[in-house]
Amino acid sequence: MPDRTLEIDDVSKRYGDVVALDSVSFDVRPGELFGFVGSNGAGKTTAMRIALGVVSMDSGEVRFDGQAVTHETRTRIGYMPEERGLYPKMKVLDQLVYLAQLHGMTANEAHRSAETWIGRLELTERRTDEVQKLSLGNQQRVQLAAALVHDPAVLVLDEPFSGLDPIAVDVMSDVLREKAAAGVPVIFSSHQLDLVERLCDRIGIIRSGRIVACGTVADLTAGAATRLTVTAPEAPPGWAAGIPGVRVLSESGGDTVVELAAEAGDQAVLTAALATGPVHEFSRHRPSLTQLFRSAVGEGATQ
């Protein structure tokens, strides 16, 4: 699969007896925002570190643009590690210029690019301050700039949203969307599932080193059961229990939440509800990514 796709192909990694990654495969296509979710210790960080060559893999291959990623091509990846890291005593501008040059830019290009990102991420007033003197939020912005300053062809970001204030979250989201729109494959991990759901084109869920689900949010939720919330104040308890294909999840006051089996119709529920008296709310919602994540990760836990 050439054409600037980042492919993680059958990658495995063990630490002693612990299997960190077990034949992990997925790809991130150009122009795509790929969300990588999983519980702590599931293997997200290990997978990203392997893509960057910071950790060696036991087997498998990481490819970009149809070619195995080597030390030479790795300079084209923009990386934000989970453990944030910059030289605490180096000035913001110097630091960005240095990192850009280490990724192969000339001094002039590096300066221009560093200034561009400093302006873009609203760090202009802080450009000659030492990183350690910056607020945590501003340090995060510098960290993002460090991942972007060499104009990377691939972006790999480990928890880019953690610790950001809402405004910085918006800035970060815009930047990621913009990079994706420019044809860069972008992969990031996050625990903020609502954000992942809103932002990402596709999502991969990893559990204990294995990919358990991968696809668009619509794909992943299509097969899952639909939920209905019905507000019928006069309905007697247990009113919905007899409807075929319906499972009552909760019943309190006049609010009832039911889950429909795939083949069951929502109209039968509405009819039954109306039969009990007035209906103030009748809403249908697809399961959120959070629910999907809970069931994907939870299933494993009970196995």
Binding site: E72, G85, Y87, H103, D151
Partner: protein
């Protein structure tokens, strides 16, 4: 600016090493800390030099206090001392009691009283042999003069003839009048070398721990190979140290020559040049060992523990060095100065004192270079495996196994 996905862009190894080295130079040389540090060392060094100079000149001086009738022998004491080459300072003391307390306090080495023919000397514990002989000579002279007058001879004439009779001395190895200065130069050079290697070696370790502690190393290693990062760091810091050593050496030399403390600027310049070479060798010998040790820990607080063994070797070298200066051409000294971990500190001072011959210097150079190669390989290997492992301290055995 290259568009995203420009496939041609990559960093050549030489460029990566140069960039890393340049960063070290920029961040270290430009700081106020470096300038202040260099100035402080310079002041300490000059102070040490002056102290040494005054200690050396005061060590052999005997202060003789004369009281009562003995005051008459002041001139003969001075003259005889000059003839014998003994450094004597003569002072007059008001009375016996005052002189006694001065001897007790150490202000006076000896208090002389009584008349010329019958001198009495008061000392704290024992009297310097040469001064003893000198005082005896004066008493005898006095008695002899009296006897000569008794027999009707002219004391001045007789003594003139006596004084003319002297032993003629031919020496096989003439004493080097510059020896004192050479020893001082050697000592200063040794101190500078010890300090530079220890300081910049630990800066290598500190820099690596800083990168590990701040996690920036993960970003760096996603684009630079560990070897390049290590090499760039070592070269960069080595150059900073070389600059400092050169500034200190040149400034010290200029000052010492200007104030007249040194009259052998040829020897001093040669020593400085040898010193710079041995600094480079010593630094590269220790730098990768420091680097490997530093990469074993992730916090500055843990650093001293892993660096202690290396620092101890350096201190042993320095302490041995002080002994070496006492007898720069003994066999023990020669052997010690050929041991690679000690050579960079000991050899330059032996060269400065003029004790080391060319074959010895060549042997030390070859041995040191071979050790540098071996230790660089070893230190680099430890660094390579340990640098990305954060958390608890890594055991050396695990790091070597890879």
């Amino acid at each position: 600016m290259n568009g995203p996905g420009n496939p041609t862009r990559s960093v050549r190894p030489a460029t990566a090493v140069r960039l890393v080295a340049q960063r070290e130079l920029n961040t270290r040389l430009r700081t106020r800390g470096f300038l202040i540090g260099t100035a402080v060392i310079l002041v300490v060094m000059v102070g040490y030099l002056l102290l040494q100079a005054s200690l050396i000149s005061n060590a052999d001086r005997t202060t003789v206090g004369l009281t009562g009738q003995a005051a008459a022998v002041a001139e003969p004491v001075r003259e005889n001392a000059k003839q014998l080459g003994v450094d004597v300072e003569v002072v007059r003391v008001g009375d016996q009691q005052d002189g006694r307390s001065q001897v007790e306090s150490g202000d006076l080495d000896v208090l002389v009283s009584g008349n010329a023919a019958n001198l009495r000397a008061l000392v704290k514990s024992d009297l310097d042999q040469q001064v003893h002989a000198l005082l005896n000579e004066i008493s005898r002279q006095e008695v002899l003069n009296a006897k000569l007058v008794e027999v009707g001879a002219d004391p001045a004439e007789v003594m003139g003839e006596v004084a003319a009779a002297q032993v003629q001395v031919n020496s096989l190895e003439p004493a080097d009048p510059e020896e004192g200065q050479r020893v001082v130069i050697a000592m200063v050079m040794m101190f500078l070398l010890y300090m530079s290697i220890a300081t910049y070696g630990s800066l290598v370790a500190q820099g690596i721990v800083e990168e590990k502690a701040s996690r920036v190393v993960e970003i760096l290693l996603s684009t630079v190979r560990p070897w390049h990062l290590l090499l760039g760091k070592v070269i960069g810091l080595g150059l900073v140290g070389l600059t400092q050593l050169f500034v200190l050496g040149a400034a010290g030399l200029a000052m010492a020559s200007a104030t007249g403390v040194l009259t052998v600027s040829g020897v001093a310049t040669k020593t400085l040049l040898w010193g710079l070479l041995w600094y480079l060798l010593g630094f590269f010998l220790y730098a990768t060992v420091f680097a490997g040790a530093g990469s074993l820990v992730s916090r500055q607080e843990d650093m001293q523990t892993v660096l202690a063994p290396i620092t101890i070797v350096l201190i042993v070298g320095f302490v041995t060095g002080i002994a070496v200066l006492q007898m720069p051409d003994s066999t023990t000294t020669t052997v010690l100065s050929l041991l690679p971990p000690l050579s960079p500190i000991l050899m330059p001072s032996r060269i400065a004192t003029g004790a080391a011959g060319l074959p010895e210097i060549a042997a030390a150079l070859v041995l040191t270079l071979a050790t540098i190669a071996a230790l660089t390989w070893l230190g680099g290997r430890v660094y390579h495996t340990a640098v990305l492992r954060t958390g608890t301290r890594i055991r050396l055995k695990d790091a070597l196994r890879g």
